[in-house]
């Protein structure tokens, strides 16, 4: 009896609980999710990801970036979310950048989605 497939490759099943909130294709979505999360939630995600990021990138290195299977693509999105939460966790100890008010800077182009 096989388990229902998750969003991530099976060897990253240990991260599957983070897939639904954090496998987000665009920077805009990841920015919104960061600001909708508590610092505790982001720290838990960050600490689970940190020891697995290199393995995730090694796994995705096995494919051409133009031709990633969906589960590997989701894994890249998870790494991108790790990047997004790295600032709240490592620098600000909060979801928001201090002294930013309502300023915004929209990312309008990325070479990989």
């Amino acid at each position: 009896m096989t388990a229902a497939p998750g969003l991530l490759p099976s060897e990253f099943a240990d991260l599957e609980r983070f897939a639904e909130p954090w496998c987000l294709a665009t920077e805009g979505e990841r920015w919104a999710q960061r600001h909708a999360s508590s610092i505790e939630e982001m720290r838990e995600f960050y600490e689970a990801m940190f020891p697995r990021v290199d393995a995730a990138l090694v796994y995705c290195d096995g494919f051409s970036l133009d031709d990633l299977p969906d589960d590997a693509r989701n894994l890249m999105y998870l790494v991108f979310s790790f990047v997004m939460v790295s600032f709240p966790v490592e620098v600000w100890n909060a979801p928001r950048i201090p002294d930013v008010g309502d300023a915004n800077l929209e990312r309008v182009a990325s070479p990989f989605i």
Partner: protein
Amino acid sequence: MARFPKPAEGSWTEHYPELGTGLVSYADSIAPEFFELEREAIFKRAWLHVGRVEQLPRNGSYFTREIAVARTSVVIVRDGDEIRAFHNICRHRGNKLVWQDFPREETSGTARQFTCKYHGWRYGLDGACAFVQQEGEFFDLDKADYGLVPVHCDVWAGFIFVNLDHNSDPANRQPLREFLGPMITAIEDFPFDQLTARYGFRAEVPANWKVFMDALQEQYHAPIVHRSQRPESFDAHAAGFEAPHYQIDGPHRMFNSPGIRPWELPEDQIKASEQLLRGGLFGPWDPPDFYEATQIAGMRPGGHERVGVALFEIWPSFGIQLWERGWYHTYQHWPTSYDTHIFECNQYFAPARNAHELAAQEMTAVSFKEFALQDDNLIASVQLTMGSGGLTEFPLCDQEVLCRHLHKTAQEWVSVYQAS
């Protein structure tokens, strides 16, 4: 004691005696009347950067630019080997020619010809009027007289520029390369055409275009504004900032920053995720294969061997920043009123060949936004109070020499225009 040698005159500011050392007037950034003059004096006279040739990969590729400060929309199109620009307006009754769904928004695509949505007039990629609906209903209409209004357009180092000056005799109009001058053209061999992976950013900023430019062309603020992004061991006030080199050439200016080499720092002085992903504000740690080609002399006009970045501000409001590790970014400020503008920034890397390289670039792009938002909001606060209580003149130090030059140049161009 100064960290880097200053010019013989004792300061960068005094090296350019025409700048003076007195208080600098910022009346040019708070008065709607001055902004109305800037529209004509600056933005309809200078060459304006609008995009890169990679945005026009094939015959019929086009993009539009909304140039609010000049109250016009321009369509830029590839017609075979030529890159052409036109006012984005139908010759019949002035309808906007090229747009998709939302007429205020910029658009891009590929076309064999342009068709007006109102009465179906059509234009070729060369701007010629190719078709008039029910032509016989018109009175003495010769299609040859109704081509799209051309906008002077030229390309330098793959950057597309337009010039909206219709008033001066074309024979007197300054060619693009001459406008740019030797300090800027000295960077044209930088491999821009190999750094094609673009991360683009856009913001609507509640500040005069020059007020934000000031923040980007001095690093005197960096140890203070961005202090919480530096390792705790770093003493912001003691460090201060000095640039090894500033240079001015006509209306353009540049500076080198010594930069930081995170890959050389001890681990406790770098963000853990930067160490892990080998990328951060200063870019991906690993340079591209063609790294040697990025080390052009033009990025070190002062001859300093160690240079973190070289920021070239091309008048009026287009910046190209070359990074030591072999990538670059651009800034542009499009004024929309005396106290608002659109800020565009692009980061350009060699296309990522694998997931590790892509992750390093993502770290760079995210880091940029974390820093830029701190500047962005601070600039809003500067604009709010500037000019209140009649305070419009300010002391600028030697590390703020490029700010002094920007405001002086804006005031000069407006004065020249008023005198003409």
